[in-house]
């Protein structure tokens, strides 16, 4: 079936490739390779959407990415719904399902269109002036209704089954825009042999050659030349050609983001294909060949379906073979719309009249139009479009007033002139300059290594464009300065233009049919329903900056980002302000050029690739044991090991008791480890830690505290001295990377004279803590070459030897208060050594324990956790760790910071123990402490609970807290007010279990 508005013989599509599709439930036939817009137009469908504010019926304004009106939802399946798709960009495939948006119950009858009738009330910024009474009404009544009426499509509600990919690329010359200019520039650059990338947002290269029927290059039709040239480029090894690839952002130092739409145009994309691919290109030179966008005429009811840009009508005809009407009118202020009238007339479409706002234009196109018998009117304006769901007439009047004449039409093609697409240039931080003669902003001052060519540079005419672009491409290649430029054997010849069209000039702002009548709606921004009157009102209300006008009226803030509306809005504002356009200023062009999916930006970083999941060597053992894991930074750490029927508390209670009774095994592999090596290692340690290190004997360990320069605790850990010049430093799990960076910073920049080097060994060693009275019995049978006796291996010592036949660094240390060891083995042996120790442990009734039990056991002993009991505002003194600060040291990082007045003042918060009066009550971590529970809110808070647990070993709850003047309050009763009652607590020391520390050797 040939759709009614398809013109046999016109267009470039293979008519045989039929694609069935549906729109709002109605089935249609289209042709593969055309856009949804083209296919709907071929079927005579113009009404496709409703506007944002007034819900006015809307059709197609354009044939490209600048489309403000024709936004539809495309639905592949329930999870693959995409809202706000421009029908003018979406390519048709067999089975495509599209739906209109923002209307209820139907597109033709939209209840919210009542807003159109009430529109005088909904003027620019009206919502700032009302909906304020009563106070709560905004949130409860007005806002929900406004929100429901606003918005366009409906967001997807299921996870997206499609995937997105990404690529970094580098090239010498990046050419953005694949029209005549871009192709010429790419040809010139490519033949020098440099690396070239040419990208265009359309499926087909050619840009305006798609519709410019008058262009001939190298003896061919312009579009055919473009295809040949691109094919030649694709065949070159040094060229990458990307179609359907939109350069959306131009970032610092010639870094350009492009999104390539890989499969949205395919009927059934293979699973291996990404939906979109993000290209992040670093180019030595960028050639901007982004073309120009036609502007509409601003006159009353210029938004009726069927009123569209003249170039769009040409694209539909010349490229897709579709007529946008049977009897069209043309309204223009420049020459280019004449070509549309001529093309349509030649294709057999009736052209009712051309209305030209200019008084005495001359030129060959005008002569040609007349010769074809088209009525041409000069000095006249279209003051109104008739019709509602489809334009039915245009009313014409001499532009200075006079008799009106209404001409029946079924489409109006309009052109107010062309706006150079300086978006990317402007994003590159280049400054545009206003050309008063041609009334357009063109690239002025460049900020990056790029050049603009062709229409986006304000260059008119195909011949001049190709000359300019070809020269620019060659220069860009030369400037990129690549050594083997010229290596390509194919020597190019500059394309020769045989025939071209030229269409400069035009008008900006409101045409005579744009008011000032109060009831007139002459749209500047279609999607956001901004009229010429709204812009004038904004100025009257004191908005003098174009940014204010934009924000007050929302002009240019719709999904088309003002591609057709910005210049008109600016001109109307300038006129109202009686100021020249450049003085009012241009709004900032912001990335993205056209909207890009979140998915394309995210790329691979979804699911397992959102963030690395780090697992220890022992993880594969813990998982099948039923361990529950917690996230600590990127690590998964075994949290507790529940047995059948145990909840967390039961598991932790059992683990805690077992460790103190016999022994437990704990995976401590995530602790950061840094090997500090060199003759000045001890000197370096002296500077980075508060503790003294010079006198620590090889084979011994010490608990070290690291401060920031401001005197607050930054990290802690046990450090073993392996040799005079070698330390094995441990850090907190989360602190490992920043501690390494901190140490490198001081080493490289403050203490570069020290002969010492740092190596991260976190992942070299798996660490198995074996803690408890039976720990030595468990380890000893497996160890070779280390005397495990208390005399030879006392608490806080380290030896190197072998365990299970593999090398080990065996630490005698304890974070539980029990006799304890930490067995370091090369990571790949971690699991096997753990299993061997586990087997030994089983003989003694040992358990595996997780981080929760580790926390409870250390809290029973009053050992702190940096980041939990300290919070970046705690000094060693506050934490009761003064003993770890070398009193005789003259320098270490933090020595001065910790002496600042407020850090040594009285009344600082100090870490203490808390016991609830009712031993069964476990405080909540983070709970606040007060001295007087009866005071009114706001209460004076004197501290907070940092750690709190049920201690099965103590048979009661225990807690640590930071309390103002805490160490002076021993025995004092304080209060923890909770929502359902105040808890009484007693301030105590921090050690709740084995106060004398006898069990370390027990």
């Amino acid at each position: 079936m040939i759709a009614t508005f398809r013109i046999p013989g016109a267009g470039r599509l293979k008519q045989a490739e039929t694609a069935r599709f549906s729109f709002d439930g109605q089935s249609y036939a289209g042709v593969e390779g055309e856009t949804l817009a083209s296919a709907l137009l071929a079927n005579g469908v113009h009404l496709v959407g409703r506007s944002f504010k007034y819900h006015r019926p809307r059709g197609f304004l354009s044939a490209g990415a600048e489309e403000p009106n024709a936004l539809v939802e495309i639905k592949r399946d329930s999870a693959r719904r995409t809202p706000n798709v421009r029908a003018t960009v979406q390519e048709l495939y067999d089975g495509l399902t599209a739906q209109s948006q923002n209307r209820w119950p139907s597109l033709a009858f939209d209840v919210s269109a009542l807003g159109d009738i009430a529109s005088p009330l909904l003027s620019a910024g009206f919502y700032y002036k009302t909906f304020m009474w009563p106070k709560s009404a905004w949130k409860n009544f007005y806002e929900p209704r406004i929100r429901a009426a606003a918005g366009l499509g409906v967001a997807p509600d299921q996870p997206d089954p499609d995937h997105y990919s990404a690529r970094f690329a580098h090239c010498d010359v990046l050419v953005l825009g694949g029209g005549a200019a871009g192709i010429a520039a790419a040809l010139a650059a490519a033949e020098t042999g440099v690396r070239v990338i040419l990208a265009d947002e359309q499926a087909d290269f050619g840009g305006s050659l798609r519709f410019e029927s008058g262009a001939r290059i190298d003896g061919q039709d312009g579009f055919a030349w473009a295809q040949g040239a691109v094919a030649a480029l694709k065949a070159m090894d040094n060229v990458r050609v990307l179609s359907r690839a939109t350069a959306f952002g131009y970032y610092a130092q010639n870094f350009v983001g492009l999104v390539e739409r890989v499969s949205d145009h395919l009927q059934s994309p293979g699973r291996e294909l990404p939906r979109e691919r993000l290209w992040q290109v670093r180019a030595k030179r960028v050639v901007l060949a982004t073309g120009a966008i036609e502007r509409h005429m601003v006159f009353a009811d210029n938004d009726r379906p069927g009123v569209m840009l003249a170039s769009a009508a040409r694209t539909y005809l010349n490229h897709f073979g579709v007529a946008v009407g049977r009897n069209v009118g043309v309204y223009t202020a420049n020459d280019s719309a004449y070509a549309a009238a001529i093309d349509l007339k030649k294709a057999g479409v009736g052209v009712a009249a051309i209305v030209d706002l200019r008084d005495h234009p001359t030129g060959s196109v005008i002569d040609e139009a007349r010769a074809l018998g088209i009525e041409v009117n000069f000095g006249r304006a279209v003051i109104r479009a008739g019709g509602k769901l489809r334009v039915s007439s245009m009313t014409v009047q001499p532009k200075n007033g006079g008799g009106e004449r209404t001409i029946p039409v079924d489409a109006i093609l309009m052109s107010a002139g062309w706006t150079p697409s300086v978006h990317l240039f402007s994003q590159s931080r280049g400054k545009v300059a206003f050309n008063d003669e041609t009334k357009r902003f063109v690239p002025g001052t460049y900020a990056q290594d790029c050049v603009s060519v062709g229409a986006c540079n304000g260059t008119d005419g195909l011949s001049a464009t190709i000359d300019e672009a070809y020269a620019a491409g060659a220069k860009a290649a030369k400037d990129a300065g690549v050594k083997n430029a010229g290596a390509n054997t194919v020597k190019g010849i500059k394309p020769k233009v045989d025939a071209s069209e030229s269409w400069s000039r035009g008008m900006l702002g409101a045409a005579p049919g744009a008011g000032p009548d109060t009831t007139v709606k002459a749209f500047v921004d279609f999607q956001n329903d901004v009229t010429a009157k709204d812009i004038r009102q904004a100025v009257h209300e004191g908005m003098r900056s174009i940014e204010h006008v934009k924000r007050f009226t929302t002009n240019g803030m719709a999904t088309d980002q003002g591609k057709t509306s910005n210049m008109h809005g600016l001109a109307i504002a300038a006129e109202t302000l009686d100021k020249p356009i450049p003085q009012v200023g241009l709004t900032t062009f912001r990335a993205p050029y056209t909207p890009v999916t979140f998915g394309s930006i995210v790329g691979h970083a979804r699911g397992p690739l959102f963030d690395p999941t780090r697992k220890t060597a022992i993880h594969p053992w813990a998982e099948p044991q039923g361990a529950v894991f917690e996230d600590v930074g990127q690590w998964k750490r075994a949290w507790y090991f529940p047995k059948a029927g145990e909840d967390m508390h039961a598991a932790v209670d059992r683990e805690c008791v077992t460790v103190r009774k016999t022994a437990g095994l704990f995976d401590a592999s995530t602790l950061g480890k840094i090997e500090v090596v060199g003759p000045d290692a001890a000197k370096f340690m002296e500077l980075l830690y508060t503790n003294p290190w010079e006198k620590l004997e090889p084979g011994r360990c010490r608990y070290g505290i690291m401060l920031r320069e401001d005197g607050f605790i930054y990290d802690d850990g046990v450090v073993g001295r392996l040799a005079a010049d070698r330390f094995h430093v441990t850090t907190t799990t989360g602190g490992a990377p920043r501690v390494m960076n901190h140490m490198e910073d001081y080493l490289q920049t403050e203490f570069p004279h020290l002969n010492v080097w740092l190596t991260s060994t976190t992942e070299q060693w798996a660490v198995i803590a074996v803690q408890g009275p039976k720990s030595r019995d468990i380890i000893a049978p497996l160890v070779e070459g280390i005397d495990m006796s208390d005399g030879a291996l006392p608490h806080m010592s380290v030896r190197e030897g072998r365990i299970c036949g593999v090398p080990t660094r065996l630490f005698r240390m304890s974070f539980t208060g029990e006799r304890g060891f930490e067995v370091n083995v090369p990571a790949d042996y971690g699991q096997a050594v753990w299993e061997a120790l586990w087997a030994e442990g089983q003989k003694h009734g040992a358990c595996a324990y997780g981080t929760e039990t580790m926390h409870v056991l250390r809290a029973e002993k009053g050992y702190i956790i940096v980041g939990q009991d300290t919070d970046g505002t705690v000094t060693p003194g506050d934490a009761g760790l003064d003993w770890a600060v070398g009193k005789k040291k003259t320098d270490f990082v933090g020595i001065r910071g910790m002496a600042r007045p407020d850090l040594v003042a009285k009344g600082r918060k100090q870490l203490v123990g808390l016991k609830t009066k009712d031993p069964k009550v476990v405080l909540e971590e983070g709970a606040q402490i007060v001295g007087d529970p009866k005071q009114a809110i706001p209460m004076t808070m004197i501290g907070h609970v940092t750690s709190s647990y049920w201690s099965e070993n103590c048979g009661r709850s225990i807690a640590l807290a930071l309390v103002t003047g805490g160490r002076g309050r021993m025995g004092e009763t304080l209060y923890v007010p909770m929502p359902n009652g105040t808890i009484e607590v007693e301030v105590t020391g921090m050690v709740f279990f084995d106060e004398k520390g006898e069990r370390l050797n027990g």
Binding site: F52, P120, V154, Y251, M557, P595, V596, F598, G711, D871
Partner: protein, 417 residues
């Protein structure tokens, strides 16, 4: 000032909206004012407004190098909340929150303060400890903030992914119901209108190029691109440019200015009912009245006044958004932009007198200044008018960095261990 109301709109609708008066005037600068405020953002304009309304000081100029409300006021993601940990922060932000409630009526300008709830997510045990510490401190400070289970969080925000299989599962959340959003432009414009009608001069396109000081060191006025303007009191409220202006007066500041980016999606029908913040996954999101998802990104790592940032910063943000809300990958980013945020070493603002007599500074709001706008302006006006800080801003001195009496909310959140 002609009052705004639905009746005024109806009246104007009859005559094509031609009767509206200018929301603010654009006078030529006088030679001298009692007070000059440098920076016509929300905080600066609010300061001028409260100088006029609370302290009766109307001979005031607000100088703006660009257009009013064009800096961070017009570039932020408009999150409003007051559930801060420390008494000092809670004090100033809750002071602001109380003023937000009723600001539309106070200004006769609908600033669209929408207390739709701000939810902050906990993804690990450490987050729970930190957020609960906030809940408890807030409760005793009389600030609403409640703890939600993951299920309750999802009920409040249906798009939230609370799957246990998520990379960082949601383990709970806090909710401040009075928190929410407001319309950023309206705040600046409402204060501008309120100040202007009371005689305050708002002078746009007037860049301060120098600060003039008398031989005794006191402020005499400012040099501008429109000539010298005298004043005995100058309040610097220049956000990212605060240290630049303060340098002109010879005061070096503990400030660094970073690019901060944000983005919005294309507008869609209501899908996201509240504000969600996740400090661990780094996602900050709400939906505007227009239907756009409003998403805040992080700062770039280097000092910059370029108002642009790197694409990788947006990637990082959207990674997190799509991880927490996996249905949003098909949504499209419509617009992204950058602001310049001035950050102090403890991430808390400076709102204080300075070593220079007659010079006052209100800066260092970092990434979260919008929410404080009314409160900040209110107490800064007090500070200038009385030459003495209001009790609420008294702790926010410059000197605290010398003494070490910091107000370090970020440090209090500590780090994973």
């Amino acid at each position: 000032m002609k009052k705004y109301s639905v009746f005024a709109i109806a009246r104007e609708a009859m005559r094509g909206h031609k009767g509206w008066e200018e929301q603010w005037s654009s006078p030529e600068p006088k030679k001298e004012y009692d007070v000059i405020i440098v920076g016509a953002g929300g905080h600066g304009l609010a300061t001028a407004y409260y100088l006029a309304t609370v302290h009766g000081i109307t001979n005031v100029a607000v100088l703006e190098k660009g257009w009013l409300g064009g800096g961070n006021t017009g570039r932020n993601t408009t999150i409003i909340r007051s559930n801060y940990l420390y008494d000092e922060s809670a004090g100033i932000y809750d002071h602001a929150l109380k003023l937000w409630d009723g600001l539309s009526q106070e200004l006769n300008y609908n600033v669209m303060y929408s207390p739709r709830g701000v939810m902050m997510l906990a993804h690990n045990v450490h987050d729970i400890q930190v957020l609960k510490r906030h809940v408890h401190a807030n409760r005793l400070n009389g600030i609403d903030n409640e703890w939600l289970t993951p299920e309750a969080a999802k009920e409040f925000c249906p798009p939230l992914n609370i799957s246990r299989d998520a990379r960082y599962p949601v383990m709970g959340a806090t909710l401040q119901r009075r928190g929410g959003t407001a319309r950023h432009d309206a705040v600046a414009w409402g204060y501008a209108r309120g100040a202007s009608v009371r005689g305050v001069h708002i002078i746009q396109n007037c860049e301060v190029t120098g600060v003039k000081r008398a031989p005794n060191g006191a402020v005499m006025g400012v040099e501008t691109t429109r000539g010298f303007i005298g004043a005995k009191k100058v309040g610097v409220v220049a956000a990212g440019h605060s240290s630049v202006i303060m340098n002109m007066a010879g005061v070096r500041m503990p400030l660094e200015s970073y690019p901060l980016q944000a983005l919005v999606s294309e507008p869609v029908k209501p899908v996201f009912p509240c504000v969600v913040m996740s400090n661990t996954v780094h996602a900050y999101i709400s939906q505007s009245d227009k239907g756009e998802l409003v998403i805040g990104a992080g700062t770039d790592q280097y000092i910059s006044y370029s108002q642009t940032g790197g694409l990788h910063i947006l990637q990082h943000t959207l990674d997190a958004i799509c991880e927490m809300f996996p249905m949003f990958t098909r949504m499209k980013m419509l617009r992204s932009w950058g602001g310049i945020v001035d950050v102090t070493p403890d991430r808390s603002p400076i709102l204080a007198k300075t070593p220079v007599p007659g010079l006052y500074v209100n800066c260092g709001w970092g990434t979260g200044g919008f929410k404080a706008t009314p409160g900040s302006g209110h107490v800064f006006a007090h500070t200038i008018a009385r030459d003495d800080p209001h009790p609420i801003n008294a702790p926010f001195t410059i000197e605290r960095f010398r003494t070490g009496r910091l107000i370090d909310e970020a440090a209090a959140a500590a780090v994973a261990h």
